[in-house]
């Protein structure tokens, strides 16, 4: 199974990828958050400077990068979330 998802890049990840947003047409699902991150790293190798200091958000829920399996559906939003600095 694959899904078409929208990936959002924020803060430093947007600078590193050069993108605010992109569509990925055939992301395997279910997929571990680690594999999802690796897939983004392949597309944008400069994101590796965020390694170990980043989480993802899937459908607006934080997902730590690791073995956890994520089920993706068409139209889902995946966000790259560098360390927060609100306030």
């Amino acid at each position: 199974m694959t899904a078409q998802v929208t990936v959002l890049y924020f803060a430093k990840s947007a600078e590193l990828s050069g993108l605010k947003e992109e569509e990925l047409v055939a992301v395997p699902t279910p997929i571990s958050s680690q594999d999802l991150w690796s897939l983004l790293l392949q597309r944008h190798p400069r994101l590796c400077v965020l390694q170990h200091q980043v989480v993802l958000a899937v459908r607006q829920q934080y997902v730590a990068i690791g073995d956890e399996l994520v089920a993706l559906g068409d139209g889902d939003e995946v966000a790259v979330v560098p360390p927060l600095s609100g306030g």
């Binding site: 803060a11 200091q53 966000a79 560098p82 927060l84 600095s85 609100g86 306030g87």
Partner: protein
């Protein structure tokens, strides 16, 4: 009769009015309002002067994380009446408030404790980012020590 609770997060590009945030939590049943205002300090880093901050947010998720945050606060301090946060986005000059938070409660202890926890949680969980901009034209992304995946995370 229990008054309906208000939880309001406003993300805005304009100057923040403290009075507006105070008014947003006012309630005839509340004797105490606690506030917190976060402001960019004048600062010099390696000879570069900070001139301002550039904020961005994942807006819909900021709203949903804020609702979760308020739920956690209310679970621990059920007497918390209203919660209001106004947070700047975009360019914020040094010396201007970036965030104004207010909590109203019938008595002050609950509100003050809840406020400390709310600021902590906001910095740890709200998907908002700021870039410090220097007079040298350089900039660097900040990281909150409260954020669990920040390199400078403090437990």
């Amino acid at each position: 009769m229990v008054e309906p609770r208000r939880d309001v997060l406003k993300l805005c590009h304009d100057w923040l009015s403290v009075q507006e945030v105070v008014d947003a939590v006012s309630s005839a049943s509340c004797g105490a309002t606690s506030l917190f205002i976060g402001t960019t300090r004048e600062d010099v880093l390696n000879g570069r002067k900070v001139i301002g901050l550039e904020y961005e947010a994942y807006e819909p998720m900021a709203q949903s994380e804020f609702r979760k945050l308020c739920d956690v606060i209310r679970e621990r301090w059920p007497s918390v009446t209203h919660v209001c946060v106004h947070h700047r986005l975009g360019w914020v000059k040094v010396g201007e408030a970036s965030v104004v938070m207010a909590i109203s409660s019938p008595h002050r202890h609950d509100g003050q404790q809840a406020m400390q926890q709310a600021v902590e949680q906001l910095k740890a969980r709200l998907p908002v980012w700021k870039k410090e901009v220097y007079d040298s034209q350089e900039a660097s992304w900040k990281e909150n020590a409260e954020c669990p995946w920040a390199s400078n995370h403090k437990q």
